[in-house]
């Protein structure tokens, strides 16, 4: 017997905890974005990596500078939880392939600084930080955020967009051959792209949103790994599909069918990676259903009747704002009461 009893520590039970920790959760979600990132590189060239990198640099730099310090005053304590990196990646993947790098960087700074830290940091924010960054960019640089380029492949893989290296506030940055996204063609030309292209992803759009098939696989993977509440993406997609199909029945030449609604634009990306942010979505199961359905309805309304071709970002941000309210009315009944 080596233990005399004097070197025992007294802790309060439980003496076991689940394997999943917050940094691991963030790492796993970040890992789940890697296939999407690779697809972005394939479709839009290595510029995609630079854009995502710039957004990450902005996000992590902002976390380092404004985030909480450790006990001895050193900066960067909260970088370890991995949320700043994740926000950067998620933001980067929502940006168009032609955006100048400095804008992506600013988006990262705003996303973490105003989207997260001013609310008290991790878990305190009401709005999804990555989407706050993107909403800021969309308001500040509307042209850059709505200029799209056709997707390429092996031939354009190693080409860099000159526009990416534009000097802040000096050059317009956009000099690529531009094209329209599936949703703008739907909205302004009443032309529906075949859903097989949308599934594959060789269409114009934001870096990470084009390949619907890949996003579905990522979503299933994250669901299996229980990284998010599956109810949120599933209700979003079901609501959009059902509502979209209803409008399609009413007027097939004006409104696209359910598959087009599901696979086009940022819907899958938003449903899988954005709406599922735990801090900004309800915790109660019933709340998750209301939240998801709300996003679905807003997406359809904005896409079909709003001024913008795409509405996923605003739909999620609006529902983020209602989360505390949803939370309040969906608390589960306590056992035996």
């Amino acid at each position: 017997m080596t233990t005399t009893g004097s070197d025992l520590v007294l802790q309060s039970p439980p003496f076991d905890s689940a394997r999943l920790t917050t940094p691991k959760l963030m790492q796993e979600v970040t890992l789940a974005t890697v296939p999407v990132l690779l697809a972005a590189v394939w479709f839009f060239g290595l510029t995609a990596l630079l854009i995502v990198g710039a957004a990450c640099a902005g996000a992590m730099g902002s976390e380092w500078l404004f985030g909480p310090r450790d006990a001895v005053g050193r900066r960067g304590r909260s970088l370890g939880d991995g949320t700043a990196l994740l926000t950067g990646v998620l933001l980067g993947l929502t940006l168009p392939p032609t955006i100048p790098l400095w804008m992506a960087f600013v988006g990262g700074v705003v996303g973490i600084g105003i989207g997260k830290l001013v609310w008290g940091g991790l878990g305190g924010n009401i709005f999804n930080p990555a989407l706050v960054g993107r909403a800021f960019l969309q308001a500040a640089f509307p042209t850059a955020l709505t200029t799209w380029r056709a997707s390429g492949g092996a031939d354009t893989l190693l080409q860099f967009d000159k526009g990416a290296f534009a000097i802040p506030f000096a050059t317009s940055g956009v000099d690529a051959v531009t094209t329209a996204t599936a949703l703008s063609r739907m909205k302004f030309d009443a032309e529906f792209l075949p859903w097989l292209d949308l599934l594959r992803g060789n269409v114009a759009g934001s870096l990470g949103e084009t390949s619907a098939g890949l996003l579905i696989l990522c979503g299933i993977w994250m669901g299996v790994r229980r990284l998010y509440d599956w109810r949120v993406p599933v209700t979003i997609l079901v609501t959009v599909a059902v509502l979209g199909q209803v409008f399609h029945f009413v007027s097939p030449e004006k409104y696209p069918d359910a598959l087009f609604m599901l696979f086009s634009g940022g819907l899958l990306y938003g449903a899988v990676f954005m709406a599922t942010d735990p801090a900004t979505s309800p915790t109660a199961p019933r709340g998750a259903l209301i939240f998801g359905a709300g996003i679905g309805v807003l997406v359809v309304l904005i896409r079909l009747f709003g001024g913008l071709p795409e509405g996923v970002m605003y739909a999620i941000l609006l529902m983020n704002a209602t989360t505390p309210l949803i939370e309040r009315v969906t608390q589960p009944r306590i056992f035996g009461r």
């Binding site: 017997m1 025992l8 039970p13 076991d16 689940a18 991790l122 915790t283 306590i334 035996g336 009461r337």
Partner: protein, 501 residues
Amino acid sequence: MKLLTRTFPHGVHPEEHKDTAPLPIERMPFTDRYVLPLAQHIGAPSKLIVKVGQHVQRGEKIAEPGGYVSVALHSPVTGTVRSLDPKRHPNGSLVPAIEIEIDRYAGQETPRGTPVDPFDGTIDDFVARIQNMGLVGLGGAAFPAHVKYRIPDGAVVKELIVNGCECEPYLTCDHRVMLENAADVVRGSVILRDRIGAHLATIGVERNKLDAVAALQEAAKGDDRVRVVPLEVKYPQGAEKMLVKAVLGVEVPAGKLPLEVGVLVNNVSTVACLADIFDRGTPLVERVVTVAGPAVRRPSNLIVPIGTPVRAVLEYCGGLTGDAREIVMGGPMMGQPLGSIDVPVIKGTSGLLAFTESKLARPAEYHCLKCGRCVEACPVFLNPSRLARLAKVGKYEDMENFQVMDCMECGSCSYACPSNIPIVQLIRVSKSWVRERQRDAKIAEAKEAAEAAKQAAQNDGAGSAGAGGAAGSGGSAGTSGSTGAAGTGGPGAKDGKETNR
């Protein structure tokens, strides 16, 4: 199949670590000294009936029940009472205890009394016998068993549920008892079922113990009013209300006993002991304890006499590894951490677990992500993340409104939390605050009632005294005030009187 297996909603799946499950129960050899705290159970401590120097037999009564919610205590060995000085209880406090030195030359046979037909005599005889045999719930809470068995007038018990879940990781003592003493478990269940007038006895066993299910089914053959029900493996299924929900699908109302829905729940080891008490006349002098954990050299399932020092048990199991840092009495989720190994095994000790630093090291705490994993874990459907948030800023009143007192401290929330927030620990502290506040409020209320009575009496006095002097009226108020407080009669008033003294 999985869909058909019963369980309760929510809960968690901690790693089982039931490595001691295949190890048969072995009898631990006797040691020199035994320490028996008079308070081993919930309720009033037992009343001492032995003197220092007195020779006692194994199984001889050494303390009487100290009240209705209290049980007798028996000597676990033949030996001599050496001391009645206070000793350290596993919970850390110093409590009155009986220390017995073993008689090295005595035989130490298991005490056998006269078998008694459990169905002879009235329910009072039945209950009195159990109380005098020292039986408490052996699942861990150590609530005097006979109190549960006396069904209040007007209440009807439809079903007896025997708890064989053993949902705490590491523990395998109930599992071994069900395997090796299946006949006693069934016999005890039948005795209890028929004595409390229940129609059916259901033994609920988690599916990680299918061999126990088979053994019990075999033992229960021929009695179709005993059924064995396999349950999904999930923590905390062994909690009374969760088990009732799992087996019957019924929720016991908050703050009420399972009796409210016509059910009585008892642990398998407890009912096995019941068979011992009636069929063999053996009082509760020993119990099965699982000794396990990464820091124990030879994990075992042992029959340990009540009062054996934890040190002796661990030594018998090959001692601890050098990196042992935490010793827990009970399971890892709700057990009692020990500050010293010089405390005795008591009636409620189901396990002795030793953990190392690596198992303990709580990783860094992060902010709450509001991921809802604790909400999905809480078997009582509370919102642990919100309660923890309120606890951190001391908003205990808000917590009370969110029914924090319904928390049974199972620890599922802390287990599930990816940010390593010590949720249940925060809630525990808050609950004691709320309890204190509730007590204070009760006292204040009683004081107010006493004051009001005094005032009323004073007014009466003033009225009858008419033009009497101020000094006279004051004097009469003083005396009538105290009688007024006693006269109101409610429990609040009684409290008030006590505090006035």
